[in-house]
């Protein structure tokens, strides 16, 4: 790992971030949108871990942040899925295009 510059890792994380964002913007299914969000969060995690490892290895701030992000992502995903399921019951669909009753 001594031969890999930090920027390469950052390239991966940034790319993953925008892949996730692309998914979030294009996917019409709410669950796939949630999956895209998870990808984005993971890209952030990579950032934290990489920075911690490369630059600030004397402390574990980045690592801990990553751990908490993972936890929260789980909680968020759980609540989101609960809401989606509820929506599915009400709407019989989880197509994001159909959640536009309120607008303008």
């Amino acid at each position: 790992m001594n031969q890999i510059p930090l920027t390469h890792i950052l390239f991966v994380s940034t790319a993953l971030f925008f892949i996730g964002m692309y998914g979030l913007l294009t996917r019409r299914n709410l669950i796939t949108m949630l999956m895209s969000v998870e990808l984005i969060l993971n890209s952030v995690n990579i950032n934290f871990v990489a920075f911690n490892r490369y630059l600030y290895a004397d402390k574990l701030d980045g690592v801990f942040f990553t751990l908490f992000i993972i936890t929260i992502a789980a909680a968020e995903a759980a609540v989101a899925i609960a809401i989606m399921i509820h929506l599915y019951r009400n709407l019989n669909s989880i197509d994001v295009e159909q959640t536009d009753e309120m607008k303008f």
């Binding site: 709410l30 984005i40 969060l41 952030v44 934290f48 600030y56 701030d61 942040f65 309120m102």
Partner: protein, 485 residues
């Protein structure tokens, strides 16, 4: 440590304690009368507020900088305790018929605790946790009109938008962490490695400024999302409209207000080195926010949605105030949030009562309300006047001081834009007034019998709206606290 810990965390602990008590009640039995529970919760919230008010002023830093508190922060938390109590009182009619009152309070108070941790956060981790903690349960609360499709839709929009927003926020934090190596917000003078110093240290190097600005923009978007700054506001109206009224009220007042506190701290301490950049950014966003909020509010037919856009416009005004010098910005923003709390809760309180009893939420439904419900009409009118900044309501003073704070920088074009927006905003507030007082209606809302608790809440709001402005010491007190900030 122990006693100091408890003393410092008193307000948070009190809230958490209530959550736990409610949890035990829930686990213990499900044969309780909802009214009793509501009464109990409101009493507990009252005690919580009283305890917070009586709390000894302390200035503490706990958990190695993760948590800090001082008089101003205690005051802020008390404001939110008060707001939560008012919302809770107003929600009485709605919750009475709702099977999940206990869960409502558990979630609501969790978010309150989250907000408290967020304002007291000394580092970005605690800030992030607090933010999420005030978001995730709120998304669930948005869904609390379980049988309404709009409620679910609102919840989905809320949670997905906020997930996206917090992801961007985190990306910004990670870049900031990469650049400076610390998560400390820099609010603690003792810490020698806090963020602003490091930021200032690296600002000279190539690309640092650009990267920091980018990180700041990402961070800003996180804040802006929560406080509905244009163009990060788009979720607001839909979520406000779909959510149950008390949740909307909570979203628009408490959650927004708390993020403002955090935001202003971050701006003036953490990002002090970037002050010139964020000043211009705030000016731009404030103008956009006021204009967009107002222009959308002009065309609304539903009261809740109108109030949503109005609250967006109000955010623009708060941003104006935020551009002033640290002390005036802090004082005027906090003061305005207090004022805004009373005004907005007054308006939402009426909406809550009417919505809970009749299910009507359109402006047209309010036509002729004054004939049948003068009390509600006056509460609504006074609250709206306060939102519009009409004397003698506190909103006048609040807006005056916000703009005055902003004008301290000498950017009068900017202030003129704000003044222009005050005029535009008057139009839609007056539309509601017109509907209530002037328009004829064959089928007006009938004479409503308001329960005691909501009535008390409304009266408190009116009193607050009338008194916080006229009593000059309120502002002076906040100012004196802010001066130390």
């Amino acid at each position: 440590m122990g006693i100091g810990l408890i003393a410092g965390l008193q307000q948070e602990l009190a809230v958490v304690l209530i959550v736990i008590v409610l949890l035990f009640i829930k686990l213990g039995s499900d044969r309780y009368r909802t009214e009793t529970i509501l009464g109990l919760v409101n009493v507990l919230l009252g005690i919580n507020l009283a305890a917070g008010l009586m709390m000894a002023p302390t200035q503490t830093v706990l958990f190695g900088g993760g948590f800090h508190t001082n008089e101003l922060i205690i005051l802020e938390k008390n404001i939110f305790n008060l707001g939560t109590l008012l919302i809770s009182l107003q929600a009485y009619d709605w919750l009475k018929g709702h099977k999940l009152a206990l869960e409502f309070y558990m979630l609501l108070l969790s978010t309150l605790a989250g907000l408290f941790f967020m304002i007291s956060a000394g580092n970005l981790l605690m800030f992030y946790l607090g933010l999420e903690m005030s978001t995730i349960p709120l998304a669930a609360l948005s869904n609390f009109d379980l049988e309404k499709r709009q409620s679910s839709e609102a919840a989905v929009k809320f949670i997905m938008s906020s997930a996206f927003s917090s992801a961007l926020l985190l990306f910004g934090i990670s870049l900031l962490y990469g650049a400076t190596g610390t998560l400390d917000l820099g609010t603690l003078a003792a810490s020698d490695d806090n963020l602003p110093l490091r930021m200032a240290g690296i600002l000279g190097s190539t690309g640092a400024h650009a990267l920091l600005v980018f990180a700041f923009v990402l961070l800003l978007s996180g804040f802006a999302f929560k406080i509905s700054v244009v163009p990060f506001h788009l979720w607001t109206a839909d979520v406000y409209e779909g959510s149950p009224v008390p949740v909307t009220a909570y979203l628009s007042v408490i959650s927004k207000g708390a993020v403002f506190f955090a935001f202003i701290q971050v701006l003036y301490t953490t990002f002090r080195p970037l002050a010139r950049d964020w000043y211009n950014m705030l000016v731009l966003l404030a103008v956009l926010t006021m204009l967009t909020g107002n222009l959308f509010a002009l065309r609304q037919d539903k009261l809740k949605r109108l109030l949503a856009f109005s609250s967006i416009a109000q955010v623009g005004f708060i941003l104006v105030g935020m551009t002033g010098s640290p002390t005036t910005a802090n004082a005027s923003v906090i003061y305005f949030i207090l004022v805004y709390l009373f005004s907005n809760l007054g308006a939402f309180g009426v909406v809550a009562v009417v919505s809970a009893m009749t299910g009507k939420e359109g402006i047209d439904d309010y036509k002729g309300l004054y004939k049948t419900n003068p009390f509600l009409s006056w509460v609504m009118a006074i609250s709206l006047f306060s939102l519009a900044g009409i004397p003698p309501t506190a909103g006048f003073f609040g807006k005056f001081f916000l703009l005055m704070s902003g004008a301290g920088r000498g950017n009068y074009v900017f202030i003129s834009m704000a003044a222009l927006n005050m005029v535009i905003s008057l139009y839609y507030y007056l539309r509601v007034i017109k509907a209530i007082f002037m328009d004829a209606n064959d089928h007006p809302i009938g004479r409503l019998k308001i329960s005691l608790l909501p009535a008390i809440a409304l009266m408190v709001c009116v009193a607050g709206v009338l008194l916080t402005g006229l009593l000059g010491w309120v502002y002076d007190y906040i100012y004196s606290l802010s001066a130390n900030f």
